[in-house]
């Protein structure tokens, strides 16, 4: 490969100056596509976080006092086991409750540091045979007055609705996003094709004077990848705001049960990085296909 990085970027800058609107337009479409797909993923994470304790058919949780005795815990466990209307249950001890709490409030140091393992209530997560809300409520009520029980919290229809809506929205975001990404890919393909056409004289001269295939191709490839990367950076900037917006929906009065409707910073970061990689890959792939079809070296 006989070329210099500086030369490649100079060729690239010639190309960008010639067609800035095409470059910016394509980049904007990629960015919008990535932000929509990324928003779907962030929403999925947020709903997952907010409803984590209600996964796998868990309909209500029996929280014990943090200082409840082993006897009290075993008594509640025995009552749960004996009840024929209860399909199964699991026990979350103080240590695991603490880990769950730390995960839920990953982005708030103040809240995380305000509690210790000893402050956490151990709990039973209960899966009833019949998930009808009236049955669940009656079952939950039967544990409220047990010795050592601090609180019984039942999943309401609202939470199930949120899960359903979250899942449906997530699917729609995903399909719309994939559709837009496919459109973005076609746009990159056409941009590179147009760029090849507008620079055909340069390419012709390069070939005649003996420029290597790589020297001729790399600026076009870089242009495609750069569009994807810049769109990825815009996605990195946008997704925290999307996450805040989702969290603000969870904080509204009607959805107070979903106080933790928010993706963690690490989830937002990993989604952002994934979207940036997807953007670069789309740019690179579309460029490569356009080059193989339209650039004869």
């Amino acid at each position: 490969m006989n070329f210099r990085i500086g030369n490649i970027f100079r060729e690239l800058s010639y190309s960008l100056r010639r067609n800035p609107s095409l470059f910016l337009g394509t980049m904007a479409v990629i960015a919008i596509s990535l932000i929509i797909v990324g928003s779907g993923l962030v929403l999925g994470d947020a709903v997952g976080n907010a409803t984590a304790r209600w996964k796998d058919g868990v309909e209500f949780a029996v929280f014990m006092n943090p200082d409840s005795s082993q006897v009290e815990i075993e008594a509640v466990s025995a009552k749960l086991t004996a009840n024929p209307e209860i399909e199964r249950h699991s026990f979350v001890d103080q240590q695991n409750a603490f880990i769950e709490f730390q995960d839920l409030f990953q982005d708030s140091d103040l809240i995380r540091q305000s509690v210790t393992v000893e402050d956490m209530p151990p709990s039973f997560r209960v899966v009833p045979s019949n998930p009808e809300s009236s049955v669940v409520e009656a079952l939950a009520d039967s544990f409220r007055d047990e010795p050592g029980v601090f609180q019984v919290v039942a999943a309401t229809d609202a939470i199930r609705d949120i899960e359903d809506i979250g899942e449906r929205l997530n699917n729609r975001f995903f399909f719309v996003g994939i559709f837009l990404l496919a459109a973005a890919m076609l746009l990159v393909y056409n941009t590179i094709r147009t760029t090849i056409f507008s620079r055909r004289r340069e390419v012709e001269v390069m070939r005649l004077v003996g420029a290597s295939n790589w020297y001729i191709r790399v600026p076009f490839m870089v242009e495609g990848v750069l569009q994807g990367l810049i769109a990825g950076v815009l996605t990195i900037l946008a997704l925290p705001f999307v996450n805040d917006f989702i969290a603000s929906l969870g904080n509204t009065q009607s959805l107070a049960l979903l106080d933790g409707l928010r993706a963690t910073p690490s989830q937002v970061w990993s989604t952002s990085i994934l979207m940036t990689i997807v953007g670069a890959a789309i740019g690179g792939l579309a460029s490569a296909v356009a080059l193989s079809r339209y650039l004869d070296v």
Partner: protein
């Protein structure tokens, strides 16, 4: 320097461009390639720098069978062959200096080599004072000189000129031919396709005539017809 052995080239639709052409051109020769339009002159030139591949026959350039060259080595072949065209093929958005420097930049020549060689070649073609002008600010003859400078700046072994005077008036053409003659005298092999009877008859160099893809005449110190 250049050797063709029974070279044939047929395009789609059974259009015969070259039919079993054999000839040899020595290092430092100046050869005119003449013949009517469609006789195969351009194909002859395009085969030499591997823009086209023959359907049969063997072509040697600088002792190498270029049919056996792998794709990634073709650019190295082309660095030894300068090309000049009737339409100049200059880059409108670059100055004279940048157009010539472009030929060195894209093959990875160091900056100090470029800054030495470009002014020297512009001096040779008589365009030192126009180094910062854009092609559209130059006359046809001057543009062809830039094209020659670009083709010759890398000191190729061979210069292929495809009707370089086709767009120029007779007086300007004489200037271009003098320049090509000077370049030829440095040891560079020059192969020039032309329809310009006056130039061929005046210069009295070797003439290879093609007719319907076949070699009709190969004459030392020849004339157009």
């Amino acid at each position: 320097m250049i050797k063709l052995e029974n070279v044939s080239k047929v395009y789609k639709g059974d259009v015969v461009a070259l039919r079993s052409v054999s000839c040899e051109i020595q290092k430092g020769e100046f050869v005119f390639l003449v013949g009517p339009s469609g006789s195969g002159k351009s194909t002859f030139m395009r085969l030499l720098n591997k823009e086209e591949t023959p359907d049969s026959g063997v072509i040697y350039v600088a002792g190498k069978d270029i049919g056996r060259l792998s794709g990634w080595r073709v650019p190295f072949l082309r660095r030894n062959i300068g090309c000049i065209f009737q339409d100049f093929k200059l880059l409108d958005n670059r100055t004279v200096h940048q157009n010539v420097a472009f030929a060195l930049e894209v093959i990875g020549r160091p900056r100090h080599v470029i800054s030495n060689q470009v002014p020297a070649i512009l001096e040779l073609v008589g365009l030192s004072k126009k180094a910062d002008n854009y092609p559209e600010e130059l006359s046809g003859g001057e543009q062809q000189r830039v094209s020659i400078a670009r083709a010759f700046v890398n000191r190729p072994l061979i210069l292929l000129a495809d009707e370089p005077t086709g767009n120029l008036d007779p007086a300007t053409s004489v200037g271009i031919m003098k320049l090509l003659d000077r370049i030829n005298k440095t040891g560079t092999t020059v192969v020039m396709a032309t329809h310009d009877r006056g130039i061929v008859d005046t210069m009295r160099k070797r003439v290879i005539e093609l007719d319907h893809g076949t070699l009709a005449r190969d004459q030392v110190r020849g004339v157009y017809e």
